[in-house]
Symmetry: C2
Subunit: 386 residues, 2 copies
């Protein structure tokens, strides 16, 4: 993949980022996106009952059916559980960004990510915003939305007709269905009807971002947004949606791989489930099992933990017919089977550990992504605010 700083946005989009001072470290913490043409968009957001003002505002705008011209995102502060002041600050952030971009505030989404319960330093945003430099690069936007992430997350694809799809995301801890502390923006210059976006986007989010787990904690501020401004004209719908799913999967994998303290990506493929719901649940339960995550960290092919996770997942299956492969080696086939432990342990040292489960009980398949559990995860999260 190209360096994220080299990835250009789709046509008609520009973005900028700066350090407003919200992050005491002086790192980038404010990101702005602009679309020269009013874009169609689709929205999926956290199911958390303590959702932040930005999430509630986004949902209102989406339900109202308004077009999108811009986004503003701050990192370092979630502006959540900040009461009436939080709602006002969120609206103020929208107004400041809209004024700077010379668009309507109702055509601009806000997002905040970071610590919960601390008032947002809106005056820092107000002061810094006029210095924002916009460009066609995705790189600084991708870096400015990060919190405990160690890497920016960008994925870009070009469609056969020349239209482009570029995704940027953040997410590292508190990552779990539905939706995780995760911000994901997938932008395209393709022309796509709003009605189609509204229908397809939730299906893609369910198959990708909602199959990603770091620690079982669903955040208050998550959103995944698809934006298409039509500047590049119409495209083949099938190719478009296949590519959007590909970009979303790529971002979901990048998020899981960069889980707090993680050293490895865990990918779980489940097949042979009775229903899609069960396949997804089974894949997620394995990817999210604390015991299996710890085993992956220790290169331990302990299939008993995979089986135990499967057993509590709610998926229907017969343990005596199920099969489990780890890094391509059959390690369980309706019961213990002999396998080369030394070889499998060595294979588990790779950057990605792949579990394949066949439930032999139907046709449904699903995948999920997670990461290993390390001492570093504990260290990071025992020391986050203090």
């Amino acid at each position: 993949m190209a360096l994220e700083s080299e990835v250009r946005l789709p046509r008609g989009f520009s973005a900028g980022a700066l350090a407003s001072g919200i992050k005491p470290s002086g790192k980038l913490d404010l990101a702005l996106l602009y679309s020269e043409r009013e874009a169609n968009w689709a929205y999926a957001a956290t199911s958390n009952r303590a959702a932040a003002p930005c999430v509630l505002r986004g949902r209102r705008l989406y339900d109202a059916g308004s077009g999108l011209r811009g986004l503003i995102v701050n990192s370092g502060n979630a502006n959540c559980a900040t009461g009436v002041r939080g709602v006002k600050d969120d609206l103020r952030m929208a107004e400041l960004a809209a004024r700077f971009l010379q668009i309507e505030a109702d055509s601009l989404l806000t997002a905040s990510t970071g610590v919960i319960g601390v008032p947002l330093a809106i005056e820092k945003i107000e002061k810094a915003l006029p210095g924002m430099q916009m460009s066609s690069s995705a790189g600084s936007f991708a870096r400015a939305i990060l919190t405990t992430d160690t890497r920016p997350k960008v994925a870009a694809r070009e469609l056969s007709g020349g239209a482009r799809i570029v995704g940027v995301a953040k997410g590292s801890g508190m990552i779990h269905p539905n939706m995780a502390t995760m911000l994901a923006y997938i932008l395209s210059d393709a022309e796509v009807p709003r009605s189609e976006m509204v229908k397809k986007w939730p299906l893609i989010v369910d198959a990708t971002f909602n199959q990603t787990t770091v620690d079982g904690d669903t955040s208050t501020n998550d959103m995944a947004v698809l934006v298409s401004n039509g500047v590049a004209g119409s495209v083949d719908a099938q190719e478009f949606w296949r590519t959007v799913e590909d970009v979303a999967t790529d971002l979901a994998r990048q998020i899981a791989r960069d889980g707090e303290g993680a050293e490895k990506l865990i990918t779980v493929h489940v097949s042979g489930a009775r229903e899609l719901r069960e396949a997804r649940q089974a894949a997620r339960t394995i990817a999210g099992s604390t015991l299996w995550k710890a085993a992956v960290h220790g290169n331990d092919p302990n299939w008993g933990r995979i089986l135990a996770a499967l057993g509590r997942s709610g998926a229907r299956f017969d343990p005596e017919r199920a099969r489990i492969k780890l890094q391509g080696s059959l390690i369980y086939d309706g019961g213990a089977v002999p396998f080369n432990g030394v070889e499998v342990q060595a294979a588990m040292q790779a950057a990605e550990v792949v579990v394949e489960v066949e439930l032999a009980n139907g046709e449904a398949t699903a995948s999920a992504w997670g990461c290993d559990l390390t001492e570093a995860y504990v260290k990071i999260n025992a020391e986050y605010t203090t």
Copy 2:
């Protein structure tokens, strides 16, 4: 509390333990319990679909309504996912123990706990069993059922009329509703009708053992059994059930406190929920939140994580009306409130960290127990079988 080795069993019970060699360490790994009179009993067991033969056998005996004369428990091997051989070995274990105790095999429960997927060395049990010494002490039984536990778990109470209730339990990892790798036996010499036991025991299990979480992983081998042999005659029913719940709560707390790698017990009390189900779910979600567990480890009064866990728990509440206390200090009251951070951090260094949540949305209350997440948990579980 008295040393567990000094706790006597209720009248009419005797127990024994020895090291059969199943545990390579040479520690106690085989425990036997005998009731001189046929006892009434009630049973709750894991919901895991990959449940072990001992669980399935126990469920059959319970459904058949047979009386109970004995228990045999081995630790160091779960005899789970061991196929047809596992079922035979489990039955053989029952037969060997029944022959030794001179009772019917169908009046004896089996249990196995330890590693999954490894055949049980039944010949070691056969060879060792004749050397079993029975006594009226609960201590060696309590030690012989342990796996990664660091402490035996015993709780004893005496009723006003002289009847006694003694509980022993094990559980350290893979602890999560419903039921956790948890074995719990509560024994009494009180006379209690089977019909009453069948009705009340599941309610107590739901309020105690099923509100205990260490790592979100429900095991394949768990059971909680209440046994009453009537040797001490009839008792006040209210006092009996109150005391059984007290013993079960005591054991549940001991299990949570001894979670793998844990340094602290986390106790969560939720009040003001709309329904009992929601109160329990809210309490469990907080007690089981990886992020909150890590914060407790770091003495970090990060209430945003409590609020985020509440928000995803499914309990209905308004974040602007909820209140959260930590170690008795109000740290959230419909929003951030000023509190003495240094003082609360110091209070969090205690062996028990108590979270009190008022949802202000109804009358239902519930408690849950968990433990902090430490680097040691990761270390233990990255290195368990290899």
